[in-house]
């Protein structure tokens, strides 16, 4: 099996560096704002923040092309933003407004945007894995060369769907990137209680699936690992299993008292916060200046504020429309 040489993006260019930092910063601030707005009760339901894990979404997304498919979990703001979903449409969704990316019907856990091939926002843990395999199978049958990237947590890997999906993808040579975000907890259940074998990467090879791990707190590492994974998939058409070791800095959701872990542990992990780390790298490599950072941060603030404005000014779906789209309106498939 010949390996094609992927054009190395590393080290990053100045423009690239800024773009990446911008994305991570946007995710961070967007979510912090969401939490704020949540406490004002403008957002309700479950809100699962991605704070601390931004390098994974941003890093992986760099390796994906426009035509690739993406599926994610209920903790998907980061993936959606990194994929380029409009922050206003996301915030409006969380406000429950028609201008939201799912007409406000989904809320935080159900972001969808078919135009950018973003297929949710799925809230049944592990439930999107089989779908991802099927989408990749469709691509293969259609002779398309795109990759399906499926994000899920280490908790999800305990579900039977993980086993079945890995097996099917391998049997069918389906071009899926199984992207496991191992943040060490499934709600309040630590890895040691969810998996008898905690090194999840050991599972890939027993399906005959190419597998790697990466430090999910380091953006450049994630980018490299994801690029390698995606190159492999495009070249071979086969699935790939990438385990990103990461950590969520905040509670599982807004209902979580975090009884199951020590504050000290969280603080320890915060030292690896991907954003300051990446800033430091850019500064060290003289790819950015402090001033540029400040103006970037300011731009992000404005974007976030604009998203909130957009959401605030959105409209409610009329109750008469409640039953629209239970079935398709256009009967042509």
């Amino acid at each position: 099996m010949k390996k094609t040489q992927s054009k190395s993006k590393f080290p990053v260019s100045k423009a690239e560096g800024k773009r990446l930092l911008h994305q991570m910063q946007l995710i961070r601030r967007f979510e912090e704002k969401s939490a704020e707005v949540y406490t004002e009760t403008k957002i309700r339901g479950f809100l699962h923040l991605y704070v601390g894990e931004e390098a994974v979404a941003v890093g992986v997304m760099q390796a994906l092309k426009e035509e690739d498919y993406i599926l994610s979990t209920y903790r998907e703001h980061g993936h959606a933003l990194a994929r380029g979903m409009d922050p206003g449409a996301i915030m409006a969704e969380m406000y429950g407004k028609v201008e939201g990316c799912a007409m406000g019907r989904g809320g935080s856990m159900h972001l969808f945007d078919k135009n950018i091939h973003f297929y949710g926002g799925n809230a049944i843990v592990g439930g999107h894995l089989p779908m991802a395999v099927g989408m990749a199978l469709a691509s293969k049958k259609q002779g398309k060369k795109n990759v399906t990237c499926c994000f899920f947590g280490e908790g999800a890997a305990a579900e039977g769907e993980f086993h079945e999906s890995m097996n099917l993808a391998a049997l069918w040579d389906a071009p899926v990137l199984f992207l496991c975000e191992n943040n060490l907890y499934a709600m309040g259940t630590a890895l040691e209680y969810t998996h008898s074998e905690q090194q999840l990467e050991k599972k890939g090879p027993t399906y005959g699936i190419e597998t790697a791990t990466v430090n999910g707190m380091d953006l450049l590492e994630v980018m490299k690992a994801a690029q390698k994974a995606v190159d492999y998939i495009r070249e071979t058409g086969k699935p790939y299993f990438l385990v990103c070791y990461t950590y969520r800095f905040r509670a599982h959701s807004m209902f979580d008292a975090e009884l199951y872990r020590d504050k000290a542990e969280v603080e320890e992990w915060k030292k690896q916060d991907p954003i300051p780390q990446f800033k430091k790298y850019l500064l060290k490599e003289q790819l950015i200046t402090e001033k540029e950072i400040a103006s970037l941060e300011e731009a992000v603030e404005k974007e976030v504020a604009a998203a909130v404005d957009f959401a605030e000014n959105g409209t409610w779906e009329p109750i008469e429309d409640l039953c629209r789209f239970v079935y398709s309106e256009n009967q042509e498939p």
Partner: protein
């Protein structure tokens, strides 16, 4: 007048699958043992050879996985026919069917439609005992976002699948394994049939027998017997269990003023319950007598023939029940 031909229920199902595969490149069949084995009930026998492994896909035992994969493939533009060998195993795929297939369109604000067709063998009648004789039409008929069809005749065995594949939304087809070897006449060039309306399979004025699936032929037989006693029974095949076509049975009741609902499924919280409740709501003042139900006995189906037979309504049971209603 069209020429007729005699065909088994199995052959009707198979020729529909074959036609679907021929007509549309996007269609493929996936399921356990649909290929090399020839289908657990020989419905897809020979199709692997004819269409190759890209169109006839054997899958591992993993109902949640491959049904979900079918849903994903539908999302991405294919027209998969997922065969769940029998309804008994569909519980393993139910999360995929309900939380994904049935839900995505509404939840995504109309963006993501899921044109998947799921076929399941179902029902009782082969002495397969408790874990292999389920009739779970009621589960699926409860769920908005899916279309649920009961293939109660050869005409529908030949035609429903083709129309189902035109639907932009998920369709579940219940096929009755006890009918596979049953022969019947259908018109020679039979093809796609509507999947919206119930059908009056026999006209009559004394009582409306409302049913679906294996209930159709059993009710027709019962109606014949009863006609010899001078009772003129109308038999309605619901065909579409979701969304229900009320009009057909309400029209019938406006004529007969009496109804009996017949099904193999367990009685409580069943299709019959729903039919009875709708008649209550929409035709109460048309009724001369209360609507009655004749359903499966509420037990896990036992293996021995005499107990299996006793577990669901038989022709004789229908006859007796109608007699009791009409000549109390």
């Amino acid at each position: 007048m069209s020429k007729m031909k005699t065909i088994t229920y199995r052959e009707a199902l198979k020729s529909a699958i074959r036609e679907a595969l021929q007509k549309d490149e996007r269609v493929f069949l996936m399921g356990e043992d649909v290929g090399h084995y020839g289908g657990a009930f020989a419905v897809s026998k020979g199709l692997l050879k004819e269409f190759g492994p890209g169109r006839i896909m054997d899958v591992p035992l993993s109902e949640s996985g491959f049904t979900g994969a079918g849903i994903g493939a539908a999302l991405a533009g294919m027209r998969p026919i997922v065969e769940i060998m029998t309804v008994n195993f569909s519980l393993l795929a139910m999360d995929q069917i309900i939380n994904n297939a049935a839900t995505l369109l509404h939840m995504s604000g109309g963006q993501l439609n899921v044109p998947v067709v799921i076929r399941m063998g179902c029902g009782i009648g082969r002495q397969l005992a408790a874990q292999h004789s389920h009739s779970w039409e009621p589960f699926y008929a409860h769920v908005p976002g899916i279309n649920v069809l009961a293939v109660g005749t050869h005409e529908d065995a030949r035609g429903m699948l083709l129309t189902a594949l035109e639907s932009p939304d998920p369709v579940i087809l219940f096929e009755y394994t006890s009918m596979l070897n049953l022969e019947a006449e259908i018109i020679e060039d039979a093809g796609a049939v509507d999947i919206c309306k119930a059908k009056v399979r026999r006209e009559g004025i004394d009582l409306s027998l409302i049913t679906y699936g294996t209930g159709v032929y059993k009710s027709l037989e019962a109606a014949e017997v009863l006609s010899k006693d001078g009772m003129d029974i109308e038999v309605i095949d619901l065909r579409v269990l979701r969304p229900l076509d009320e009009e057909t049975f309400l029209t019938s009741i406006a004529k007969t003023h009496k109804a009996l609902v017949v099904e193999d499924a367990w009685k409580s919280v069943s299709i019959s319950s729903e039919i009875s409740a709708r008649i209550m709501e929409k035709a109460f003042f048309e009724l001369d007598l209360p609507v009655e139900r004749l359903c499966g006995v509420e037990v896990p189906i036992p293996y021995p023939k005499h107990l299996e037979d006793a577990s669901v309504p038989q022709v004789q049971d229908i006859v007796e029940k109608v007699r009791k209603i009409l000549k109390p």
